[in-house]
């Protein structure tokens, strides 16, 4: 017996949530990795089939805990497709702002937990503390820190309070300032280069076939982003860049698809998100925030198949909604980005990796188990 077996998760500091990787290791090289998920399986899709269309909104946000708003947005968009609704302009902008704030929060968390996995504990302390200021904005806007239940089919739940843009602007400039600090400590750190460059490389020619999406795909050199490919909310009216390999701004370009590039893409997208929010705040028109909605208890959605996709911080989120014209959906199927990243991609990347790199590869893929298991 040459190999021994090592378990990363579910109770392990080096795992991105409640899931497990069963590793077969020879010396310190992983020869085989098997993902074992299901610890978070609540049967959401089953539960959604037995609830009303509107009752599902509180459920869907629990599918991706670090960034719940994309779920609400995608579900609402799918329902709007079935209903043939065009939402008010103001709601579009508010949605954009909320989604981008959530993206910054999720990226800050991803960067923090990644930094923790390579042992620099200062960054998680800072970035998670800074993330809390964004949660404060959410609290003022929606009334909750984590699960907002704010984006509804037809618009958003409440209008934006009058003073909020000021607070958002203040927070954004604070985060911009802090990003430079992160650069000094993490992204321009020599040891970070030593650890991250060339590690956990996704083969770029295989990336699309493997179903890689989001920042991980952009790190492979494909500038694909759902916000540009299939603009939703107000993204088609906003001018922003897609950060993709090899253009890494002020940072050096190294290998495509490795941990280093993936993390830098996330770091650079925070700046893009900040720019988007600023534009959206400027362009936001006055008006209604939600369509006149029917009686939720007797709301029937026309029969049909709808698919809505949004770009989350982790990759492409898709909602496939099937209705037969009744009070409850027939089927809601969620395509989480971690479904491919966490199982297929991670199993392949971990094979041949050093056990010292296992956790940083997992964190740099930004795997979120709840959207695998639902």
């Amino acid at each position: 017996m040459k190999e021994y077996e090592l378990f990363i998760g579910p109770q392990h500091p080096g795992i991105t949530g409640n899931m497990m990787y069963h590793l077969w290791v020879d010396g310190d090289t992983v020869t085989k990795a098997e993902c074992n998920v299901g610890c978070l399986h609540r049967g959401f899709e089953r539960l959604m089939e037995s609830r009303l269309w509107m009752q599902n909104i509180p459920l869907v946000c629990r599918i991706c805990v670090p960034e719940p708003d994309v779920n609400e947005a995608a579900y609402s968009m799918a329902v709007e497709q079935l209903m043939d609704w065009e939402i008010p302009e103001r709601a579009k902008y508010i949605r954009t702002i909320v989604l981008e704030l959530a993206r910054i929060a999720a990226y800050l968390m991803a960067i923090g937990s990644y930094a923790g996995s390579i042992g620099i504990y200062t960054i998680p302390q800072w970035s998670l503390g800074d993330r809390d200021y964004i949660l404060d904005i959410f609290e003022q806007l929606t009334g909750a820190r984590i699960y907002h239940i704010y984006i509804w089919p037809g618009g958003v739940r409440w209008d934006m309070p009058a003073g909020l843009p000021k607070l958002i602007e203040k927070t954004l400039s604070y985060i911009e300032k802090r990003l430079e600090l992160y650069d000094d400590v993490l992204f321009e750190n020599r040891i970070f280069f030593d650890r991250a460059i060339g590690v956990g490389k996704i083969p770029c020619d295989k990336a699309i076939e493997w179903g890689v999406s989001g920042p991980n795909l952009r790190a492979c050199g494909y500038g694909y982003d759902v916000r540009k490919l299939e603009p939703y909310a107000a993204y088609d009216e906003i001018d922003f860049d897609i950060v993709s390999y090899p253009d890494l701004g002020k940072f050096d370009t190294h290998e495509a698809g490795d941990v280093y590039t993936r993390m830098l893409i996330r770091r650079l997208e925070i700046e893009q998100s900040i720019a988007i929010i600023r534009q959206a705040l400027k362009k936001m028109p006055e008006g209604e925030h939600i369509l006149k909605h029917p009686n939720w208890l007797r709301w029937k959605v026309p029969a049909g198949y709808a698919f809505a996709r949004v770009e989350s911080s982790k990759g492409e989120f898709g909602y496939f909604v099937v209705s037969d014209g009744e009070l409850k959906p027939v089927r809601v199927h969620v395509r989480g980005p971690s479904y491919t990243h966490g199982i297929n991609v991670a199993e392949r990347l971990l094979k041949g990796a050093n056990i010292a790199d296992v956790s940083q590869i997992l964190f740099s893929l930004d795997i979120c188990p709840p959207d695998i298991e639902r």
Binding site: L6, D28, T122, R195, A356
Partner: protein, 318 residues
């Protein structure tokens, strides 16, 4: 030696063992506080580590994996106390006339080997990998450290730590080894080696929680973990004291009747500064992979140490 002399000696040794433990735990607590400030936090109270150790030692259940597992507890505390007492502390010689730097180097291995045995006996692969990494790390940092040690030894023509301290304290601060250019290089290499000895970032991969769930300690809990914390506290004092003895004249600045009080305070301040330096480095760097750490020590650090050794050698044979 008469009975009274022996009794005084025993009392002195006991006192220093207790002082070493308390200082170590206190420093760890203050270190946590300072790191917390770096993190923008308030941090735990400075006496938190005393509470932690007391709690661990008073746990009701303690789970062992057999008698070899227990060796970890027995060897770690006794081995590190033994090491501490063979070091001159603040000009007080303790037992350092009965041994020398080589003895200290090998005594430091007793607790390490004890813990390695305990960790191995738990049978956990995480512990096995952790011990492997710790041993490779030891091989890595020992090379620059040994070279600097030899540079000092041939310069002062002694291997005894007590003699090295005595020769450095003749003219107070001016005669400390670190004031000489070759030993500045050596001290730099030795400080990096100290970082590895203390297992702080960037050399903390043997106990990396994210990779191997805190490595050798994976099965330690209760009194076993408590003894590990005590060991870490005393080791912190012993290892920084070793550095102070080698390069900073053991903190001896004054001679005379009550000089030992001043020397003690200077020693305390010096090891505190070394410890703070170490944790501040730790707070601003990620960790190296083990082979990168090995390369760092054997390529860069060893060359720096070797330059200082050659320099000293030329000075000496002249």
């Amino acid at each position: 030696m008469d009975v009274m002399g022996i009794a005084i000696k025993v009392a002195l040794l006991t006192a220093y063992a207790v002082i070493g433990t308390c200082v170590g735990l206190l420093f760890m607590g203050i270190g946590r506080k300072i790191i917390a400030r770096v993190h923008n936090r308030v941090g735990p109270p400075f006496y938190q580590n005393f509470i932690d150790v007391a709690k661990l030692l008073s746990k009701k259940t303690n789970i062992s994996h057999g008698w070899i597992f227990d060796l970890a507890l027995l060897f770690s505390i006794s081995g590190i106390l033994l090491t501490l007492l063979f070091l001159p502390i603040g000009g007080v010689q303790l037992l350092s006339m009965e041994g020398d730097a080589f003895l200290v180097l090998y005594l430091l291995a007793i607790p390490a080997l004890g813990f390695a045995l305990g960790a191995g006996a738990s049978g956990n692969p995480n512990a096995g990998v952790g011990v492997m990494r710790a041993l490779v790390m030891m091989l890595s940092y020992e090379l620059p450290f040994i070279i600097t040690l030899i540079a000092l030894m041939i310069y002062y023509d002694t291997t005894s730590l007590a003699t090295i301290v005595r020769m450095q304290s003749i003219n107070g601060v001016k005669s400390w080894a670190i004031t000489m250019p070759p030993f500045m290089l050596a001290a730099f290499a030795a400080d990096m080696a100290l970082q590895g000895m203390l297992m702080e970032q960037p050399f903390d991969i043997p106990v990396a929680p994210h990779e191997i769930a805190s490595g050798p300690m994976v099965e330690f809990g209760g009194k076993y973990l408590g003894s590990l914390m005590l060991y870490k506290a005393i080791a912190l004092v012993a290892e920084t004291t070793l550095f102070v003895d080698l390069f900073l004249g053991g903190g001896v600045v004054a001679h005379g009747n009550f000089a030992f009080v001043i020397n003690f305070i200077v020693w305390l301040a010096l090891i505190f500064l070394l410890f703070i330096l170490s944790i501040l480095i730790a707070a601003s760097f990620p960790r190296f992979r083990i082979e990168q750490a090995f390369g760092f020590y054997w390529k860069y650090e060893a060359i720096i140490a070797a330059i200082s050794l050659i320099w000293v050698y030329i000075l000496v044979i002249k």
